[in-house]
Amino acid sequence: MNSNVRFRAIAILIIILVCVYGIIGLPTSKDELVANWQKNIKLGLDLKGGSQLMLQVQLQDAFKATADGIIQKLKEELPKSGIVYTEMTRNDPQSLADGDKIQIDIKGIDATKAGNFRQIVQDNWGGTWILTPVNSTDYRMTIATSEALKLRADTLTQSIATIDKKINGLGLSESTVQQRGGSASDAEILVQLPGVDDPARVKQLLKTQAVLELKEVKGGPFPSDADARASKGGVLGLDEQVAKGITRAGSPPDYWILARTPVVTGRDLRNASPQQSSQNGGWQTSFVLSQDAAKRFERFTAAHINDRLAIVLDKMVLSAPVIHGKISDNGVIEGLSGQEEAQDLALNLRAGSLPAGIEVLEERTVGPSLGSDSIKAGTVAGVAGVGVVVAFMLVYYRRSGVNATLALVLNAVILIAALSYFDAVLTLPGIAGVILTIGMAVDSNVLIFERIREELRAGKAAIAAVDAGFKKAFLTIIDTHVTTVVSCAILFLFGTGPVKGFAVTLVIGLLANVFTAVFVSRTIFDWELGMQKKAVTLSI
């Protein structure tokens, strides 16, 4: 064996080891092997079962809500400054794209108060909303372009965060919520719920509004539901309920006994924002209540100093801080772990209910049994198909068929390992890519072998024939593969989900194939020929 072949063999061995590690890790038992395999090979929802929802955020709702907020504020502020108006209305944009065409019409402002009125608008919404006079008494407010962009982005981010919280609250920890590719103006959100075969509950949850509640804590925290009940002698009072805390990383959820009637709900909240404490520098979340709620809250907190107050989102207890003093319209939630939590909490308080309506554009649900049916059928078909191919190769090309089989197997190993390393998900269209890969892998081997045979027929010696065969077939293989890779690149750029999945698997498969069919197979041939001392022959 010459050193060149040995060097290549070592390179191949390393690649095989890296691939095998990527697929099964370093298992110490059979169970662990299976577990690693299942962890590394991620199946798409169409194979494993689950639901996928495509939602569209009705961004125009957020514009309307913002305008309503301004109108309400103006209705409060103008009388204070003695400004009289006759009418204050907003228009009603219907479609997603029309959101930024929102406008507020304010009519009947006395000309003598114009300066005063302008000042109020400037103080409150200067830079974000633009005030233009329609005539001497009427005005129109429109949203500034930068503010419209910000509102769109914020609404989308808030929606995604809220949906994520809500779904995680259901205990569907494997679920993903993400903005769908494409332009942000589409405001599409893709929700994937592995293992869920009835997304009705999820859809219902997304529709429910009014989800934030501040409630009196009557007991807790307890380590389990049963313990919470036991603390009350197993019988809960009429105004009592057990609520589960959110699951934080590394610690089990707490259970609380809460009053059923909330002191304040999300509707009573005007705003919430994260801030840093001026005393100890710790992160906290401040919130502002509406006037009515402030009065109620003041009475409640005065009576419950040093008690706990539960902040409940979607029926899950987010936190239960101790009330340190009387709180009226401004409150601060302390005891947070850091900036991130303060921001999340503020976001949750603001986005307790979704900032805009949600429409379901698409739902795809595959039950677990159909998924496993597909896997079974696919496996049987795959094994049968590959079995036929391998059997034929061995009969037709004899020992060289072993070469081809090794190349095929290695191709599959590299493909699976690459999917695992790239965290890619295997879906049905992905399997289509695998099938084409196998087809082209078989083709590459056949091309090479037929070429070698041709060269042998032409009277060349084994070593020269192998050399010429590989050289000539190589150009063909490169042309066929590059053409397909070019088309895959385009499919990946312009295609949607399933088409992309096809393209990704195919490109990986093709790259692996060039490696196995050309490099690995060649090395095996060279090794085989190098082993023979004299009268070199080839079994092909």
Binding site: V196, T365, G367, D373, L447, D479, V486, S487, P498
Partner: protein
């Protein structure tokens, strides 16, 4: 072992019957497409709701149809999958607003019609979490010592067991071997839950807007991909090779889509993946033949182009038959064993491999010859005294970068 050795079939001499057959197939497909108003798109591309149900007995198709009629506007299709206790229930959807409603109406109607409506949980149609929620209280009351985690695990195990039994249970006793399921659990199941006669294997709801967008994107992506391949082949060979290869591939796709229309099969997203596969396959096949032609153009300078192509096709014949045969076997095994989900997919593959193989020989190669003849006849028609060009224009492929 060798199947083909030094064959000398006159493929191009027999091209007309094949081109004729291609034309007949293409025209038949086009006529079918025209009569049916375009391809029969699945709900992926048209929008609609589709539910795939499995029953534990012969599905009562009439009863399903009767139950749904009047509940949903528009056409309702109830179609049994031949030889299986499975039914596809589909509706059209006119607007985005009805989307969710229709799916829910179908589901609710079916449940109301087939499940006993006594407040029990239909285990054949519920997820693990629902089952856990339903069992928590009763098990607590029955004094079963079980942690929340054990309850969740057991519910998941029950769901998995159901999935492995085809998604449908006919008796709770089937669960007795499932991990964590004790006789007490079975008793609770029997008391609190029921087993409906059907299970929902899959449900798809796609809005018409999304459908139209998907359709547009799939078609555009495919056309761009064809364009990209044309450019690459033109760059590696000659532009006419690119055109010929793309025409051949387009021909394959047209015939396959036409056959889908003739057999009344739906084009879904998975079928599009299969069409992309066949495009890749057919292109691969064509390039192998072209590559040989290019090589032979360099070494056999005296042959007529037609003969040269014939030789090239014969030289690659062994490879063509082997590769196509083997991949066809793989596709056939997928068609036979692949089940309902892969049916359309594997059908497209089987058709595509057959058509894709022969189009390389009988569509792509003749285009090269037609082009060659066209150039020569033009040259003859050109005024005398014109600069004499080498007789074989296509030999320009010699220039191709190597």
């Amino acid at each position: 072992m060798e199947l083909f050795k030094n064959t000398h079939f006159d493929f191009l001499g027999k091209k007309w019957p094949f081109i004729g057959a291609s034309l007949v197939l293409t025209v038949a497909g086009l006529v079918s497409l025209a009569m049916k108003g375009g391809p029969k798109y699945g709900i992926d591309f048209n929008g609609g709701a589709l539910m795939y149900l499995r029953f534990n007995q012969e599905p009562p198709v009439q009863k399903i149809r009767a139950a749904l009629t009047g509940k949903i506007p528009g056409e309702i299709s109830v179609q049994q999958i031949s030889g299986r206790q499975e039914v596809l229930v589909g509706t059209e959807i006119a607007g985005e607003k009805e989307l969710n409603q229709n799916r829910q109406i179908i589901e609710d109607t079916l449940r109301a019609t087939f499940s006993s409506n006594d407040g029990k949980l239909d285990v054949n149609n519920s997820a693990a979490e629902q089952l856990a929620d339903k069992l928590r209280e009763p098990l607590l009351q029955a004094g079963v010592a079980m942690s929340e985690q054990e309850l969740q695990d057991m519910s998941k195990a029950i769901e998995q067991s159901r999935a492995s039994k085809g998604g449908i249970l006919s008796s709770f006793d089937e669960l007795s071997s499932v991990k964590g399921v004790t006789p007490q659990v079975i008793a609770a199941l029997k008391k609190e839950c029921s087993l409906g006669p059907f299970t929902i294997l899959s449900a798809e709801v796609v809005g018409p807007k999304v459908g139209a967008e998907l359709r547009r994107q799939a078609i555009l992506a495919t056309l761009y991909a064809l364009g990209g391949m044309l450019i690459y082949i033109a760059f590696r060979f000659e532009w006419i090779y690119g055109v010929a290869a793309v025409v051949a591939v387009f021909h394959d796709t047209m015939i396959t889509v036409g056959l889908f229309s003739l057999f009344n099969k739906e084009i879904s997203l998975t079928v599009v993946a299969a069409l992309l596969t066949l495009v890749g396959y057919s292109m691969n096949d064509t390039i192998v033949v072209f590559d040989r032609i290019r090589e032979n153009l360099k070494i056999m300078r005296r042959e007529k182009l037609e003969d040269l192509i014939n030789i090239s096709v014969n030289q690659t014949l062994s490879r063509t038959v082997l590769t196509s045969g083997l991949t066809l076997l793989t596709a056939l095994s997928l068609f036979v064993f692949g089940g309902q989900v892969l049916n359309g997919f594997s059908f497209a593959l089987v058709v595509g491999i057959i058509v894709g193989t022969y189009s390389s020989v009988f569509i792509a190669s003749p285009i090269l010859i037609f082009w060659q003849n066209l150039i020569e006849s033009r040259k003859k028609a050109a005024p005398q005294g014109a600069v004499k060009e080498p007789s074989r224009e296509l030999a320009g492929a010699r220039k191709a970068k190597r």
